[in-house]
Amino acid sequence: MSASLAAAASATSTGEAVQFWLLGTVAVIGALSTVLMRKAVHSALSLAGTMIVLAVFYLANGAYFLGIVQIVVYTGAIMMLFLFVVMLVGVTAADSLKETLKGQRWLAAACGLGFGILLIAGIGQASLRSFNGLGAANARHGGNVEGLANLIFTKYVFAFEITGALLITATVGAMLLTHRERTERAKTQREMSKERVRSSHLPPLPAPGVYARHNAVDIAGLLPDGTASELTVMQTLRRRGQIRDVSDESLADLRALEQRSQERLGRDHEEEEEVAK
Amino acid sequence: MSFPLLTATAVLPAVGAIATAAVPAARRAAAKWLALALSLATLVLAGIVFARFEPGGDRYQLTESHAWIKDFGVRYELGVDGIGVALLALTALLIPFVILAGWHDADPAPGARLDSSGGGPEKTSPYHWRPTQGFFALILMVEAMVILSFVATDVFLFYILFEAMLIPMYFLIGGFGDRAHAGSDENAAAQRSYAAVKFLLYNLAGGLIMLAAVIGLYVVAGSFSLSEIAAARADGSLDMGTGTERWLFLGFFFAFAVKAPLWPLHTWLPNAMGEATTPVAVLITAVVDKVGTFAMLRFCLQLFPEASKWATPVILVLALISIVYGALLAVGQRDIKRLIAYASISHFGFIVLGIFAMTSQGQSGATLYMVNHGISTAALMLVAGFLITRRGSRLIADYGGVQKVAPVLAGTFLVGGLATLSLPGLAPFVSEFLVLVGTFSAYPAAGVIATVGIVLAALYVLVLYQRTMTGPVRQEVGGMPDLRVRELAVALPLIALLIFLGVFPKPLTEVVNPAVQHTMHDVQKKDPQPEVEAAK
């Protein structure tokens, strides 16, 4: 088997050509839909498809280890991580594909087109007419995986160690980035009850204020005089500064409304007076 | 090795600057006295330099030389010639007066304002926050740099000082404005920062072009040392090539023409002088700008004699335009300080004219002119400053009849003005006449046109005097006090000096003459012979 595989690796058969054109088409379609799908989930799934196709190509090119790793690590782990985050952010959210930056799309298209053409032209110039095949290289250490292992632990051992360090750092970094520090020691139930009794608010905390348009947890309720009441928002959110304000707009609306009613009332009053006269 | 006198003269004010800046915030008065004392000490050192300088001796005296940046052959080389020593003395002489005149200019609150008209609420906006220590420290810093640039004989060292001078000057202009201004404080602050930035940009642009030329010079000559290059030129071992020499000359000249300032690169001066406090304005025009004309004489002529001769016609035309144009614009000004600034532009035209006429009389005249213009402008400008402080306005139209209420002020102002219009008997006449004669003997037409400048000078000075000092006493001027003791201590010595140098300029001419002969030798020019003697 290894011999036939080695042969496959060194020369291209008609089968491989068919496989290339079929799967290559799939890969390109997958890539395009990654870019063009409005929903992130769809993009992620299309990308996963492309990656699987690429894994097949790796295999076809004699990179057995990489082909497997591509499926297990990339498609299996990384793409799942992507999906996980997509879910976290909101799976239903669909992006608008309307471009907001002026000229961005045209520039991107022009650059992409130019890049592609130049790259293809460059490759076209190169004189690469045949594969040398990996037979000899794989055979030297008794197989593809062994060969890779040999290289990784001899020639590339430093790079390997450094990538290890990189991974650790990345892990720690990700934890730090997503972690939120507690602002204070967690209070015990007893302390909380004591505090509550001492504070002026023995009864339940106030509900969202009279003019609030929202009842979301991070929006303060309004007191009758129009000011926001801090008490109506959770302490933790307050500390973190994650309170959203009732927009000034709504307050302005309110003022305008009052003004109008005032005028109306005033006018009515005047009219009455005139009638009285 | 003898005592490094020149270094000491330059370092003393620098040390003084640091010491003054370090005086605690509350001890403002101490800072002033310290600055004054140190500037006087510098004056003493400068006096020693002047006394030890032997007119008949070597070209450069009291030399010092130390390696500085070995890789580029940059050396810390100092030495004075007659021209340098005259300007060194001028600088050291003027700074105490500048400090004395600016005694209250950097006080934090304008409550100490001198005018008796009073009125107006006390201003406490941030624009009036003036760290007194900083003001005097910056003045001393400028003094140190200017002195060092007059004695530096290494081109690179000179370049560094030429540029570094801009930094303290920028802060002096932008940070301490004239309290007398029309419009709001914000407006004044905006104008001031405009003036400061304009000053900086103009001079930086000139300086950068000069830097290119300095580097070019090093590439061509392989050295920064003035004496080495000049010697190599003289014995023919260094041939720059005509084109290169001209380009390098233009690079240097441009920077000096901005600094001098020569038309049409002059527009920064009226702004800077108008917006800065009067002592700083004096510092600009009487001291710092002199570095420009001094450097023309020392570097342009000495390093690039052929190119200097090549450029002479154009430069003479520019100088003539400066003379007439500056004077005409001075006539048209409504602001006292801007008027004096334009008058200075006219006078700088005379200096450049004298330098590039390339005759003994012209160059001696130009050197004397630098000194005399420094003194006369200082006298006129500082007295004008006293006047402006009293009334709180820079506009000529706001004055009238001052002569009646403050005769001493008016008298000193008149003497300053008469010096500015080069009245015989006062110092500027000697230099102006020398420049005219020197120019006339080489270029008669230029001499005649420049003479028009003396009529125009009379016009702007007398119009200024008439509108501010004579006529019926204006109400706002009514209670104006006459000069105080401190102000008299500024005005009277300057006037005495103007008269002394006007009657007996020999002490100056005798140090300047040998240096001018050296320069004339550098450019290989001979004075035109009088017709009658030539015939014999």
């Binding site: 930056l101 961005q104 520039l107 991107a108 992409g112 890049f115 130049l118 790259l119 460059g122 | 940009l201 049409p264 002059h266 527009t267 005409l328 614009l329 006539v331 048209g332 003994s360 009389q361 001696s364 009849g401 009646k404 009245l423 015989p424 008997g425 000697v430 006449f433 020398l434 005219l436 004669v437 006339f440 003997s441 008669p444 001499g447 003479t451 028009v452 003396i454 009529v455 009379a458 016009l459 007398l462 005097y465 008439q466 000092m469 004579t470 006529g471 019926p472 006493v473 009657v503 007996f504 300029p505 020999k506 001419t509 003459n513 001018v516 009088p530 017709e531 009658v532 003697e533 015939a535």
Partner: protein
């Protein structure tokens, strides 16, 4: 003896320094100090004079060298003095008349709070004027030349609180500066031609240079003389200069300073002798001014301005004479001296009249004053007779000689010049008689002065009207004022005769200036007779116009010529329109140009830089994707470049 020369200047200079720097504590004694030092200078002058008389004619020139003033390579200017007969004449005139006027001023300025300063300025003037006449080189002369200009500026503008005085002072200085420009160019020309500007070498070697050079120097010197001596076309300042106190007008603007131009031309005689074209120009200027001043003098109602016109005209005579060359030099100086006496006397008389008339200057508001001011009347009258050339008095001798010399010029020129001079004499007789009649004869028009007069636009405004408009009480002036007037009247009467008898003055000056009798086409007697005739005609016309008819207190409109003459023959208007207005427009447009064009180019560069950066800044919009596009574009360019390089 030589060492005394510096003392001549030192005394008044010391006075000026002491009085101007002395402060208030000298207010009470200042005028005495000033007068004393002026007198001291006069005494020194007399001592030097007697010493000079004691020597032979060739031996009379004294030199004193004080110190080297401006020593520069190839340029030697010394502070050195030269006292010869010509200078001596001036020294005596200046210090003599100067001292008299100091004395007069003690009374005249008695009530002025700034009298000390006035005397300081007068002393300063004396010092500068003496420096002018005893300098031994042109540069030092220039110092004095400008010095007297400064003193004149300060004294004309002495009453600075009056805007008209301040303006007049400024005008005088500026017009003089134009003349000074001529002098300084002349000095520069001398330097390039002769290599020096000391009198001796320059005047001694005029033969070694071309006529063209000499003509150029001569014309420049003439320009200088025109400025200082108020000759056409630089005459406009003299009329306005009458804003100054009257003693100033007498000393500076009649007797001494304005004659400096004559001194300059006579002193530089050697140059003019070598340049006939320049001489011709001098003569023309003199002749034109002679008539110009006389005509202006006829039309003015302001007594001082009428006298100023007369001064201009008389100096025109002197310049004319000086331009005639050796024929006229001596007579120019002689007329200068006699004129110094009688014109100073006339001015002091005018001052005395004004003193008694509440500083009224309009002659139409005088009349019949001879009864109230007998001394003034007599001294003024003697001055009057002297100036019109009444036989036997000073003016007769000196003016007659000039007219003779003008005829002696020869040819058509001689006839023209002679006729002009005669015509001038007639007009002089006319206007001086007019002044005399209006002031001292006729009805007492000042009694009606209280009635307000309708203002007419072309009436000269009375410049020195006093504060109160009550009816004046004419009275004779105090002794300190009348004594100098008497002394000057004495000079007016006898100086001419004294000089002419035995040609004393001619012999005195001849060694310096040289003399040439010329070849007169008509005999001296004929000229004298003609002069007498025109004199009588002039007086008669004036009598007919002002003596027989009552004079209106308000000037009639007058003919076109009269109106033009009242306005200085429109010369001032020309100056105003062309120079002042033109200059204003020029400066204003230059200020605009400086702001928009010169500054504009720079600011424009800055603005376009700013604009460009503003544009470029919009590329920095903060959107990561935009930056990514640029990066990607950069990558494309790099690849293209790589491929291109490979292809090449």
């Amino acid at each position: 003896m030589e060492n005394l020369i510096a003392l001549l200047i030192a005394a008044p200079l010391l006075g000026a320094a002491v009085l101007l720097c002395g402060g208030r504590r000298l207010d009470r004694t200042g005028h005495w100090i000033g007068t004393l030092l002026a007198g001291a200078s006069f005494v020194v002058g007399v001592v030097l004079f007697t010493d000079m008389l004691g020597r032979g004619a060739e031996d009379r020139t004294l030199h004193q060298r004080l110190f080297s003033w401006i020593p520069v390579e190839g340029f030697q200017a010394d502070v050195a003095f030269q006292l010869d007969q010509l200078s001596m004449t001036f020294v005596l005139l200046i210090t003599g008349v100067g001292t008299l006027i100091h004395i007069y001023s003690i009374g005249y300025m008695e009530h002025d709070e700034r009298r000390r300063r006035f005397f300081g300025y007068l002393n300063l003037f004396l010092a500068a004027m003496l420096l002018l006449v005893i300098a031994d080189n042109y540069l030092l002369l220039y110092v004095g030349w400008e010095g007297v200009g400064l003193a004149s500026y300060l004294l004309i503008g002495f009453w600075q609180h009056k805007p008209s005085a301040a303006t007049a002072a400024k005008k005088a200085f500026l017009v003089n500066r134009v003349g000074d420009m001529g002098l300084s160019i002349a000095i520069m020309l001398m330097f390039t031609t002769f290599g020096t500007f000391a009198f001796g070498p320059v005047l001694g070697s005029t033969g070694e240079t071309s006529e063209g050079k000499l003509t150029a120097i001569g014309l420049m010197l003439l320009l200088a003389a025109c400025g200082k001596s108020a000759q056409v076309p630089l005459q406009s300042w003299l009329g306005d200069a009458m804003e100054g106190p009257t003693p100033v007008s007498a000393l500076i603007h009649a007797a001494t300073m304005v004659t400096a131009g004559v001194y300059l031309i006579v002193r530089s005689g050697a140059i003019f002798d070598g340049a006939p074209d320049a001489q011709l120009a001098v003569v023309v200027v003199g002749a034109v001014t002679l008539l110009f001043g006389a005509i202006v003098g006829c039309a003015k109602d302001d007594i001082k301005k009428a006298l100023a016109g007369s001064t201009m005209s008389q100096i025109g005579y002197m310049i004319l004479a000086a331009g005639l060359g050796p024929v006229g030099y001596v007579f120019a100086i002689m007329h200068l001296v006699t004129h110094g006496f009688f014109k100073a006397g006339l001015f002091l008389g005018a001052g005395s009249v004004m003193h008694g008339m509440n500083d009224e200057v309009d002659m139409r508001k005088y009349g019949g004053l001879r009864k109230y001011m007998p001394v003034t009347f007599v001294t003024f009258g003697l001055g009057y007779l002297a100036i019109i050339g009444f036989p036997g008095l000073s003016g007769f001798f000196s003016k007659d000689k000039i007219i003779e010399a003008a005829f002696a010029k020869g040819g058509t020129e001689g006839w023209i010049l002679g006729s002009v001079a005669l015509l001038g004499a007639a007009i002089t007789a006319f206007y001086m008689t007019r002044v005399m009649l209006l002031t001292f004869f006729g009805e007492e028009r000042w009694r009606h002065a209280a009635t307000p007069s309708p203002a007419e636009p072309d009436v000269e405004p009375a410049a020195e009207t006093g504060g109160d408009h009550s009816e004046p009480h004419p009275h004779e002036s105090p002794r300190s004022m009348t004594v100098p007037m008497i002394v000057l009247a004495f000079g007016s009467v006898f100086a001419g005769g004294f000089f002419s008898i035995g040609d004393r003055f001619l012999h005195w000056l001849e060694p310096v200036t040289g003399h040439d009798h010329g070849h007169a086409p008509v005999s001296a007697t004929t000229v004298t007779a003609a002069t007498m005739v025109v004199l009588v005609v002039g007086v008669a016309i004036a009598w007919a116009m002002y003596g027989r008819r009552p004079v209106p207190a308000v000037a009639p409109r007058g003919s076109l010529l009269t109106r033009a003459a009242r306005r200085d023959l429109l010369q001032d208007d020309f100056n105003h329109v062309v120079l002042v207005r033109g200059g204003e427009h020029l400066t204003r447009s230059l200020v605009y140009v400086d702001h928009t064009l010169v500054d504009g180019v720079v600011n424009g560069t800055a603005a376009s830089m700013g604009g460009l950066s503003g544009r470029l800044r919009t590329l920095q919009n903060g959107y990561a994707r935009s930056y990514a596009v640029s990066m990607f574009g950069g990558a494309v360019v790099l690849i293209a470049a790589t491929l291109l390089m490979r292809a090449v």
